[in-house]
Amino acid sequence: MIEWFTWFQLAIAVPGGLLCIVLGLVGRKPTDLTMGATALVELLLIVQLAAAIAAPLAGNTATGSLLEFYTYLVSAILLPVVAGFWALVERSRWSTVILGVTCLSVAVMLYRMNQIWNVQGS
């Protein structure tokens, strides 16, 4: 896990999530913008997964539990996929809100993942 990249992810996921929630609450159905924000969050998670697999080879090892880290990462990768399908199947304002809730959930999980990898001593 690369720390600056994680902060970059948070800088996308948090405003993206808030944007989706606001747009959903004012009645917007899922659009290219809100779906795109969620897709971007997902894409960055995949990059993070590749980085997490590769980083230990470059000497950047996790300070905490790898098991916990990967449980968070895999769960986080699943969330936007489920929310995205939901938004495709049901095109209502609440699907947009759900996209936002998903992005914010991913942000919380990224924050925890960063703690596990970089902060937590063991």
Partner: protein, 145 residues
């Protein structure tokens, strides 16, 4: 209770509108509780069998509650009441015990300190769920429409 009855139905049922959001949040919490108990049990079940068993039980209850909210038959409606009631009881009892007697729950569960590790969502969600169930009883004639 077939899939076709419970999915893709019209707006006049329990899974419409803001109820979708409730289900989504329940789904996320079910995932969070499952992930956590998976890690705890795989890593060191022996350390705290009580707390970790409770984590696993909480995870299962959240999963069942999520399913029960999606399905709209009378049976699932009762299951939803039961599981959500159980969650409220769990978060109140475990939350209180974790404050009164911390030694009992040295290892965190989803319900410790009223779910403070999860932004108190485990405390608020059952109340929202009960409000939702109370205001949206199953109406078989309408839900088939």
């Amino acid at each position: 209770m077939t899939k076709s009855q419970t999915e893709m139905t019209g707006p006049a049922n329990r899974v419409s509108g803001i109820g979708r959001l409730l289900i989504a949040v329940y789904g996320v919490l079910a995932l969070a509780a499952t992930g956590r108990s998976f890690v705890q049990i795989v890593r060191a079940f022996d350390e705290a069998p009580l707390a970790y068993s409770l984590s696993a039980l909480a995870a299962v209850v959240y999963i069942v509650a999520t399913i029960a909210l999606v399905r709209r038959t009378l049976l699932w409606y009762r299951i939803a009441w039961f599981t959500i009631g159980f969650e409220l009881l769990g978060v109140l009892v475990v939350g209180t015990l974790s404050l009164v007697d911390p030694a009992l729950f040295q290892h965190a569960t989803v319900w410790s300190v009223y779910g403070s590790g999860y932004l108190f969502i485990p405390l608020v969600l059952p109340l929202l769920g009960m409000w939702w169930l109370a205001s949206h009883p199953p109406t078989p004639s309408r839900s088939r429409a």
